[in-house]
């Protein structure tokens, strides 16, 4: 009845991510999946990605080719060379220590950073006109650095940037951050960081974040979780890669100091893959990588969630804890986390050991305060990070870029 194929056909968008899939962990990669799946309600979404599961070797583990998953078409391209960590270390050292590093050195660095997927890039060049926009996840990897400039005027870059060495030292980023048609930032602080470093305030942007969807039947999961892991004591939890780069060494030191000062039966639970030595102690419980359901259950049962990383562009797990009404304890050296603590009143931020000890003690002993923080967290996530709000922001920036492109 008057409905033509044109009116029912969704417009095509393309999302490019260094890794993608259920076997892949990492905040940005999870966000890529959530965005792709959410956007599939409005657009016909293709995802371009590598066959890699991990980001240090980029080894091909998924099969190349096309599959459809949760309404999203995923096209995987093989990495042509695995990451050679020695070579990467050498090239990085050379680039980071040479303040004059030039286009040729940067091009080399981009390539050895990987995932080196020239066929993915070729696909983009051959299919420029098939999509109204291309969304690139992250600023760091080949899939953005080398692929995004091919379609810059149609590109929306989700930078997930923080104040780290590549961002500060690889000179060619000065050029790259001026190219895309629009940005998606995950926080106010990230926007400020990018704009002050690259003077690109003229490029349109939206600030989004990630929504949190709790699994159903959480109470049952919580009980099952406690029974399965024999969790009888109170605990605080860290969720993420257990890695010195994420601030875990400090966390262990601070936690030990806390236990020395307050010798109760509080435990520190670690949920995530391990990339460093963890002190042998009855007070630290390592659970390894948990399923989504178990992760939520583990957080829900905690007295607080701690995020010791100084390099967070959003901190999705912090939002998850807030949504569960669990107070958060955040490293104030991360501008993003400090801002989140201030905006939400859902926890405390700390700078240094003394503040950590005081903040943790306060949360554990002042029940009324902890309860209020939990309530604030739920409210904060619901009002600021509802998926419907985020979807609308994403649709708005996609419409803007595709409209500008048509005019231009």
């Amino acid at each position: 009845m008057g409905i033509t194929s044109e009116t029912t056909q969704k417009r095509k968008i393309c999302l490019v991510s260094q890794r993608y899939g259920e076997r892949v962990n990492g905040g940005a990669e999870l966000l890529a999946r959530q965005y792709a799946e959410r956007l599939s309600a409005y657009f016909d979404v293709d995802v371009l990605t590598s066959c890699a599961v991990d980001y240090y070797s980029w080894k091909n583990e998924y099969a190349p080719g096309r599959e459809t998953k949760n309404g999203v078409t995923v096209l995987r391209f093989e990495t042509q060379e695995e990451r050679d960590m020695d070579l990467f270390g050498n090239v990085s050292h050379q680039v980071y220590t040479d303040r004059y590093n030039d286009m040729e050195q940067c091009a080399r660095w981009y390539k050895v950073s990987g995932p080196y997927c020239p066929t993915l890039r070729r696909y983009i060049m051959d299919h420029k006109d098939d999509y109204i926009v291309f969304i690139f996840m992250g600023y760091l990897y080949y899939t953005t650095t080398i692929c995004m400039p091919c379609v810059a005027r149609k590109a929306i870059m989700i930078t997930t940037a923080h104040d780290e060495e590549p961002f500060n030292r690889v000179n060619f980023y000065r050029a790259l951050f001026r190219l895309p048609a629009a940005f998606v930032f995950l926080s106010e602080e990230e926007k400020n960081l990018v704009q002050s470093r690259f003077h690109n305030g003229h490029i349109p942007y939206v600030i989004t974040g990630a929504g949190v969807t709790l699994p159903e039947g959480l109470q049952k999961d919580k009980d099952r979780f406690k029974a399965r892991y024999g969790m009888r004591s109170d605990y605080i939890i860290y969720v993420g890669r257990v890695d010195a780069a994420k601030g875990c060494a400090e966390l262990f030191e601070y936690f030990k100091a806390y236990k020395n000062k307050h010798p109760d039966d509080l435990k520190l639970v670690l949920a995530g893959g391990r990339f460093m030595d963890v002190p042998q102690s009855g007070d630290i419980i390592e659970l390894g990588f948990l399923s989504e359901v178990e992760k939520f259950a583990a957080i829900a049962g905690a007295k607080a969630l701690v995020q010791p990383s100084g390099l967070e562009s959003l901190g999705i797990v912090v939002l998850e804890a807030m949504k569960l009404g669990v107070p958060v304890l955040l490293n104030a050296n991360s501008d993003v986390l400090r801002g989140q603590a201030k905006r939400s009143n859902a926890g405390l931020s700390y700078s240094g050991k003394e503040e950590f000890l005081r903040a943790l003690h306060l949360i554990l002993t002042d029940e009324a305060l902890a309860k209020k923080m939990g309530e604030n967290g739920i409210q904060f996530v619901d009002t600021q990070y509802g998926w419907d709000i985020i979807e609308q922001k994403l649709c708005r920036i996609i419409d803007k870029v595709s409209g500008d492109e048509l005019e231009g």
């Binding site: 303040r99 004059y100 030039d102 286009m103 040729e104 940067c106 091009a107 080399r108 981009y110 390539k111 020239p118 890039r121 070729r122 060049m125 080398i146 400039p149 091919c150 810059a152 005027r153 000179n171 060619f172 000065r174 050029a175 001026r178 190219l179 690259f198 003077h199 690109n200 003229h202 500008d404 492109e405 231009g408």
Partner: protein, 398 residues
């Protein structure tokens, strides 16, 4: 805020010096000369005179030319034509070539002058703006991405292989804070190709500088009338062989006493004929005397981004014969009514015949040219435009 009496501009150009030919280089010198009272200007350039080798000729270091600080850096390696040609084939032959290959190729084109890059990196805070001349050479391709937010690019681009085939230019033309084009055609070409209409830009151009010739004495051995003149590098990349064929065709048809006079350095074979006179390099004054006496000025090149010599001919009331398939030259002909376009021997012969046979027409075209220059290519108007553009770019940033 840091108070300075004058804003500091850094002009970045591949070669700089008084006896330098070349479009972008001459233009840079013209702009510097006309901006030096309003801005504190430093020119950063190589020690080279010749763009085929980039051999270091000038001493490295500081000198002052015409009251302007010039900082020269030596080239690390001369251009290796074989390596450059090999990389050219690789870049042109693979539409998917990546940034690494682009970088290698652009480095091979040179001038390989890392001192320029270091200077830019070390003084990024000192200068209010960096003005990059030419889109193709190292000082721009490698230097501009270090300071894109403070960069104004004067690309002097035209429809030619490098800009069409090297993928990096899609990025380069999308990163500067501002772009100054020399003609509307150049802007249309670049904006269509790179979709960079969102970058602030202007069309500037250059004025025609005609020295006072009233007291000038012609050298001995000046060509006798009637003649037409070609001024510039005598080179097949400028399509001079088309000019020779066209002129010979004209002579075959009309058998009159018209001569073709060539001024400029020779990079190709020239037909040996009594009616083709090669005069090599002459002084600026002699050049203008010869141009003024010509029945027409002919330019066969497809690759022109402005063509100062066309403006000079028009300013002197000399009709022009310009290559039609250059959008820029075609635009000049169509807007001015100061001559004819040609793309082949027959076009050329017809056009030159019309001029030679119809004196009133030739006069009218000469007059049209003078009016066109008066209206569109006056230095005072052009420089006012550039100054206000530069000011806008600096203000936009803060």
């Amino acid at each position: 805020m840091n108070w300075k009496a004058k804003k500091e501009l850094c002009f970045v150009v591949q070669r700089y010096g008084e006896e330098m030919g070349g479009g972008a280089e001459a233009l840079c010198a013209s702009y510097v000369e006309r901006l030096k009272d309003d801005f504190d200007i430093t020119v950063v350039t190589s020690c080279a005179k010749d763009y085929n080798t980039w051999r270091n000729v000038y001493p490295a270091g500081y000198e002052t030319i015409g009251g302007v600080k010039v900082h020269r850096f030596s080239t690390r390696t001369e251009r290796d034509p074989e390596e450059s040609a090999r990389l050219t084939l690789e870049v042109y032959g693979d539409q998917y070539h990546d940034l690494e290959l682009s970088a290698k190729w652009l480095l091979s084109i040179g001038p390989d002058c890392p001192g320029i890059i270091r200077f830019i990196r070390d003084h990024e805070d000192r200068f209010d703006l960096f003005i990059f001349f030419g889109y193709l050479y190292y000082q721009t391709t490698f230097g501009l991405p270090l300071v894109p937010h403070k960069a104004v690019l004067i690309p002097t681009a035209h429809d030619e292989d490098p800009i069409n085939k090297c993928n990096y230019f899609g990025s380069l033309f999308n990163m500067p804070a501002g772009i100054i084009y020399l003609t509307r055609e150049e802007r249309a070409f670049v904006q269509k190709k790179f979709l960079n209409g969102h970058i602030p830009s202007m069309v500037a151009g250059a004025g025609a500088d005609i020295p006072d010739l009233s007291a000038a004495k012609p050298d001995a051995g000046l060509p006798e009338n009637p003649y037409i003149v070609y001024i510039g590098r005598i080179d097949d990349t400028k399509d001079c062989s088309l000019l020779f064929r066209s002129f010979i065709e004209y002579k075959r048809r009309y058998k009159d006493d018209t001569k073709l006079v060539l001024l400029g350095e020779r990079y190709m074979e020239i037909p040996e004929r009594d009616d083709i006179l090669e005069m090599g390099f002459v002084s600026e004054e002699q050049k203008f005397i010869i141009l003024k006496g010509a029945a027409a000025m002919a330019l066969p090149s497809k690759a022109e981004s402005l063509s100062i010599v066309t403006l000079e001919a028009m300013a002197l009331g000399v009709p022009v014969l310009l290559r039609k398939s250059s959008d820029v030259l075609d635009g000049h002909v169509k807007r001015s009514g100061a001559g004819f376009g040609f793309d082949d021997e027959a076009d050329f012969a017809d056009a030159l015949h019309a001029l030679r046979a119809d004196d009133a027409l030739a006069k009218k075209m000469g007059k049209n040219g003078k009016e066109y220059i008066q209206k569109h290519y006056r230095w005072d108007i052009i420089m006012d435009g550039i100054k206000s553009f530069i000011k806008d770019i600096m203000e936009e940033r803060t």
